[in-house]
Amino acid sequence: MATTMSTAPSRRRISRNARHQAVSGWLFALPFTLGFILVFVVPIISAVRASLYAQKPAGGGLYGGGQLIDTFVGMDNFVTAATNPIFWTGVGRVMLFGLIQIPVMIIAALFLALLLDSFMVRHPGPWRLMYFLPYAIPGIVAAIVWTYLYNPELSPFAGAFPSIGGNSFFMSGPVVLWSMANMTTWTYTGYNMLIFLAALQAIPTELTEAARVDGASSWQIMTRIKIPMVRGAALLAVLLSIVGTVQLFNEPTVMASAATWMGVDYMPMSMAYNTLMGMISPSGSGPASALSILMALIAGALAVVYALVQRRISR
């Protein structure tokens, strides 16, 4: 290596090389970095700033009126959001949704991946493609199609279920959350299955063959080798699912247009959007930013907790 030489010219060459590396590296990284600042960093900063302001009427005297101007209100927006029971009901729904939907989806995806990776299936290709196809359907279209499928007038199956409290079965209070969970499961199970299949196929065949030679049964190979080896993929899949669940927007928005009792604040993301759009009071970018920041913090906390628990267990 050049670093072991200590003559002056080569040292200069090293430092010139280091500078060359630094400059070229940054030039290549620059377009993305600038875009990242514009699309991620600046909005975060402006969200934090906006969350400290609210629009308050100024002047206008006794009869109100007056112009709305941005006024610094400190933590007021956060206090308003955090003491709003509707917000926490929405957060509770997201948590309940994630607690049931994510494990169901991940286990189904892992089951399908193991099945398609086993000797039981001779031609996995077509199956894999069919299960992955729903991922190609935009979430909003999937939500519209499923909402129609939940409508007893149109659906081949919804008519067989009783209506609850004046709403059709799948649109009723106790069921609607799981109707949405079904939409998400339908869309993303195949995607997660592909993540698991890729991880399974990265397991060296020598490993499973050696285990077979040593007399391990298929069941043992699955539980002792294959499942432990896809743990990294599972971590990734669950983290992405948690982040996705927190931002759930398409499903509640479309469902709410069919089941009007859901209102504009069924889930926190729709609540933030409708706050900005002035359909929930207090409205405006201040309260909406405060809601977004609170949700981002909750999402981050959930992701960190999950990653730590996972590490604990696998140690």
Binding site: A18, S24, G25, W26, F28, A29, P31, F32, L38, P43, I44, S46, A47, A50, F119, R122, G125, W127, M130, Y131, L133, P134, A136, I137, P138, I140, V141, I144, V145, Y148, L149, L154, P156, W186, Y191, L194, I195, F196, L197, A198, Q201, A202, P204, T205, G232, L235, V243, V246, Q247, N250, V254, S257, M269, L276, S285, A288, S292, I293, A296, A299
Partner: protein, 304 residues
């Protein structure tokens, strides 16, 4: 991770296992009954995943009265023509334009996004520059960021910059893909030999020339994967155009369909035809290029 050992034999084994795998040794061959049970399970799962797509195709061919009266899973007169006319008059003739808008936004975001993602990933993988680790950490944080929550402040920002309600407001956020950088870095790490870059340097080739003439060629499969991810993410995004776009002639097809679904008692047959036509380009892209999807997911699965 320790799952990748010597690349060549495993890759060959992997390729072999992809389509129809070799027969297992007779001692391991599953019993006929368990094979039959497995197939039954697979068929039921397939019905769940494909059933709604089939229903969408059927429903798109029915006029309003047939939707309510005929059996839901059977065709009843193929009235795609009627539904198309209804769709066109309902959207003031804008529907084809919406599909083209989606195409424009997704292709633009995909092409530019792929290039800048690969450049950044390549820089992180192959150059030693100050801030490299920080950049990687920030990108990974961006990967797990709930992006939808950023859309609200982004709208306020774009409005003050005067680019809200222009194509740029959809294209710029869509082309910044931390996942693309992540994939670019993984691929550059594994498929661009450092010796090759050094040889090019000795030959007096500039860094830019090396990148655009040699590296990009090596990274072509990776770029196709990244392009597909950004393309699909852009096409499927609804919150971003919902916030940014207000002119009907600038709407992407997902936003147009969403607007139609919020009508009171919409013409559901026309709606379903629109939904079908709005996803058709994506499905074609999917089926045509599915092996690139899998290679991208494989990189994520092994690294993650």
């Amino acid at each position: 991770m320790t799952t990748t050992t010597s690349p060549t034999p495993t890759r060959r084994a992997r390729r072999h296992r992809e389509s129809s795998r070799p027969l297992p040794p007779p001692s391991l061959a599953p019993k006929r009954t368990s094979r039959v049970i497995t197939t039954i399970v697979l068929v039921f799962v397939a019905l769940y995943f494909l059933g709604p797509v089939y229903w969408l195709i059927v429903a798109s061919s029915k006029v309003r009265s047939d939707l309510l009266s005929s059996p839901p899973l059977m065709f009843a007169g193929l009235n795609w023509g009627d539904n198309w006319n209804a769709l066109m008059s309902w959207t003031d003739g804008n529907f084809p334009r919406w599909v083209l808008n989606s195409l424009l936004y997704s292709v633009a975001a995909g092409v530019i996004g792929t290039l800048i993602s690969v450049m950044c990933g390549y820089a992180i993988a192959k150059y030693n520059f100050p801030g490299r680790r920080a950049l990687l950490a920030v990108t990974m944080t961006g990967l797990l960021m709930p992006v939808a929550l950023l859309t609200i402040p982004m709208y306020v920002l774009f409005q003050s910059m005067g680019i809200a309600n222009t194509p740029l407001a959809v294209i710029i956020p869509s082309m910044i893909s931390p996942f693309g950088v992540f994939l670019g870095q993984v691929y550059a790490d594994s498929s661009v030999p450092t010796e090759l870059l050094e040889a090019a340097r000795v030959d007096g080739s500039s860094e830019a020339r090396t990148f655009f003439t040699m590296v990009l060629r090596l990274l072509a499969p990776a770029m196709l994967t990244i392009f597909l991810f950004i393309f699909v993410a852009t096409w499927n995004n609804i919150l971003l155009p919902l916030m940014m776009i207000s002119s009907p002639e600038l709407k992407p097809v997902t936003l147009g369909l969403y607007g139609m679904s919020t009508y009171f008692s919409p013409n559901k047959g026309a709606m379903m035809l629109g939904a079908l036509l709005g996803v058709l380009p994506l499905i074609v892209l999917f089926l045509g290029l599915q092996r690139y999807w899998r290679s991208g997911l494989a990189a994520g699965a092994v690294k993650g």
